[in-house]
Subunit: 198 residues, 4 copies
């Protein structure tokens, strides 16, 4: 993979997921620790910066503009009811360890499972000549997977760095590594990234 | 749910999945039998016809027009290499038990995980005034789930009828029922459909 | 038209188009004056606020993130070469007369002819229950028309308020009023808006 | 332009536009004759075949599946009311002079102004490695222009072959040649195509 045709997307490394008082921290605390999610994501970010890959930070934003939130159900309803990732709150902020640097993209408007839904992500990748998308973040089996699937359907060469993702249980994490990564073409590690992106 | 705002989509009930000599039959044979997938889908189809729901048949089509198939990888590469669901073959045909009737939509061009990718499904639903999408078919945890997720992100009220879906193992089927259906708002049975769609 | 199903979009009322030292001012100066474009847009905005319509401000943004701008041609190349509407410049700012109020949408990322391209405009309208889109702004026969056409194709009921638009010549303005507005369903005035949106 | 990165799209060369008894023939008869539209399109098709470009035939289809046609207005309402381009009618057929050959794409489902709306055209071009789109057909200032604009917004290099298009008047044809083609990057002739596509 050519570094200048490769983007890395960091999904929802926000305080609400990653920090002690975050609203969803308890749900992922064990898996974050077991996988070394944050450390792996940091290494990945540093490596991507050195190689000159396109770097995309992708927070979830609960947003009052979307007036029909009251009609939503399932997980998005839970986020809405819990005021998780609410705009201008501490929980919404990207953690310092993975803070965006100048010139890096902070994707605006993710409010669904896939980072491609309701955002300009596909346009951005396409106009930037990106062919490969490396995915990490939360939750392994929901937003990270949904984003990887969208990218796959759109024709990008896609890899999930599963150890830089976080799920709510080891079983679920294993499920994705064993059953979903192969669908896309294989699992991927920080070491693969180091070696294969040039 | 109002019947005239409800569509039911039948994903990949094709010979290659459902019939003895189908190329993927062995992979799903046990789960089809355990779930009663085909029988449940038949009951669902009959009920949807009686109620006047919009009915959408959604075969996968391997299609030589897409010249870059050679570059694909993962599951789509497997389908391409195995000539599964190839246009104008027996394996591509929808099974007789679920044969489309006049006036029902046969969605053209599904060639990715989600039935929304590269097709006019969203346009069709939108222009038909559909708010609710009921999903069944193959594989539970891949194309059926990917289609349900896309619909969810697009704002449709979506339900997977998991017992009218088929996976490659009981573990995977259970994973979807326990971990994915709740994300969307809940699991759904043929009986739910009978009672709740009016 | 119900006011709560109606959005009004104000396209590119930015200093570069509307103000004496704006880079494109000379191109539209005469037509702005002849049509009373700014006054009509102000009246429209006040009326839309009173009625409780969804209000969308839509600036064009020249944006260094899009690395392939160097490959573009035609009008987008001209904008790029001239550094028109460049982010964080005076020319990019929306004019004071039409400054966004709290709670109004400022659409992010318009960088093509249609305001729907590369933005979340369709998602925003759809999730807000909008059925009618009222269009005004610059240029009558390019971005305003392209936006109206996209909306029409997407199934919205759409009207251009031509007298709140601006073109580069009277001939072109007349062309749109006579040949394009009827395609969409008819021309529309500020008076129509007052009377028909309730 | 590399021939294998170039597609040519033939928009609505159907009996209803091009033939004596076609429902829209009288509207374009004079301009077809003045421009030599059909002859130019034939030459373009033959040349594109020789060069090995991707060839896309794009009929408009009036389609009963879209149940809300009754709510449409403007030009699409006119088409619907007049049963123009109705599926399975003579008027819907592509004219013999430009009949699709084996292996050429016949785009399914165009039912709006732009050929990109509600079809898989963008997917098809993208997965086929197409960078350049050459546009011809009907009407010069509506569907041909709308398709060219969509392509431009999507980042394709696009050219309208205006003399292989047809409008309802010479004034309108001139308007597009003088005001719209330059926006996209310039007008284009069959001769340009012969020389520049290699």
């Amino acid at each position: 993979m050519n570094a200048n045709e490769t983007a890395v997307i960091f999904i929802e490394f926000q305080n609400d997921f990653c920090k002690e008082k975050g609203k969803l921290y308890d749900a992922v605390r064990e898996e974050i620790s077991r996988n070394g999610t944050i450390e792996n994501a940091k290494t990945l970010l540093q490596s991507a910066r050195k190689k000159g890959c396109k770097i995309i930070h992708c927070p979830f934003t609960l947003d009052a503009e979307w007036v029909k939130d009251k009609e939503s159900e399932g997980i998005l309803r839970g986020i809405s009811d819990g005021r998780i990732f609410a705009r201008d709150t501490w929980g919404h902020q990207i953690i310092e360890d993975l803070a965006p640097a100048d010139g890096e993209v902070v994707l605006v408007g993710k409010r669904a499972l896939s980072a491609f839904s309701h955002t300009n992500l596909d346009s951005l990748l396409r106009f930037s000549g990106i062919k490969n998308l490396i995915v990490c973040g939360f939750l392994t089996n929901i937003c990270a997977q949904a984003t990887a699937w969208s990218a796959y359907d759109l024709g990008y060469h896609v890899r999930m760095v599963s150890k830089a993702c976080g799920a709510t249980s080891e079983n679920i994490q294993n499920y994705v590594e064993e059953n979903i990564c192969p669908i896309l073409g294989g699992d991927f590690t920080v070491e693969n990234f180091e070696k294969e992106v040039l």
